[in-house]
Symmetry: C2
Subunit: 249 residues, 2 copies
Amino acid sequence: MLSSVKIKWLKSLSQKKVRKHEGLFVAEGEKIVNELLESPWEVLDVFALDSWDHVVIKGKNIRYQTISEKELERISSLTTPNKVLAVVRMPQYNILDVNLSNNITLLLEDIQDPGNLGTIIRTAEWFGITNIVCSMQSADIYNSKVIQATMGSFIRTRIYYAPIEEFLVNIPQSLPVMGALLDGDNIFEKDLPKQGILIIGNESRGISEATHRFITQKLYIPRAHENSNLPESLNASVATAIILAQICR
Amino acid sequence: MLSSVKIKWLKSLSQKKVRKHEGLFVAEGEKIVNELLESPWEVLDVFALDSWDHVVIKGKNIRYQTISEKELERISSLTTPNKVLAVVRMPQYNILDVNLSNNITLLLEDIQDPGNLGTIIRTAEWFGITNIVCSMQSADIYNSKVIQATMGSFIRTRIYYAPIEEFLVNIPQSLPVMGALLDGDNIFEKDLPKQGILIIGNESRGISEATHRFITQKLYIPRAHENSNLPESLNASVATAIILAQICR
């Protein structure tokens, strides 16, 4: 049986400040937990139904506890809990260790919606992009909704949090910095660089004034008709996907 | 003051079966309600804060009621209610009236997530696509989360619900039917037709077996590396966006 202390602890990890303080987060569902167990990430605890195949943890130094469906429902953040829940240590990455000139690095400025952030990470991995820098005001990658929306891609990408200006001041001067802006060049009529930074702005405010000045290549996704009633922008994860497809095709 | 009967009625419209029975739905927020009022859609009731600019309803046959912030919070489905809420009549469109040979028609098979459905509609409009056919098991366009995610695009597109097989049996034989499948052709190495049907499958199951047989052009969005651990698919709204960008560029 799960003690009330343990339930309280697991629930407290749904708060960002507790996660940050403990350096731990919760991952849920058979697919994601199994992938974590096969990865270099450090899994500390596993709470699972009897029906979960626990062979994957044999011989590993992991605290393991069988729980009932009722207990899983109590500790799960999913609408439909899925067999297993794990407590995992956050890895520590340093953005200064990255060679930015090898590939595209995504720079996300204040992406707020967990679904968008997760979907962007999933899409980035699809196109072979593994370094993603988030501004300090972005949604937290270890929020359970973000974890779910990545469909496991957070395990194989490196997500850094950094003050955006400090990051941009310190990149190599020759590196192209792309950003989607309304007065940019049609992305379908240009050859886009395969190395550099791609900035995606906040869902409602777009890219901030302070960040604008770093952009060396303004990009625009052309729309079918110019009409004042048309939406002014695409969803942030959709815009990211269209630009990445165009860069990586 | 809002009567409890009215509050109950407004809340009941959050249920699909009530909406269907009454032929009415609720739209929220300044931008969307103002756009509806300037459109041919029939707005029956407006409930708004004093601070809402009600000039837009002058001379129109619309029931109008000023409400308090507390009342708006009670009837709103938004986390941050935004000044105004309207009750609107659903338009009746007939898919048989559409000339399918003029443009791309999106065919959505069981898209379940309201955010995905709304984002797909928003993206479709961006690329000039105005006819969207949803299978009967798709999320409901008049669900408040769908309405919000469209950012107003639902007003300027036509969304039809139809049994998918019945629809596909009756389209012109010469019309290309595209579908995203794992064994499809690389979309970046083909000229894609600018007229025809584009089928997008369910978030977890993809396109059903029964629908497969109608596909004349299998499409595939290539990923960077083949690796068994990579996600098997992209998010449905992301895949739609990448393919539409490639068709409409």
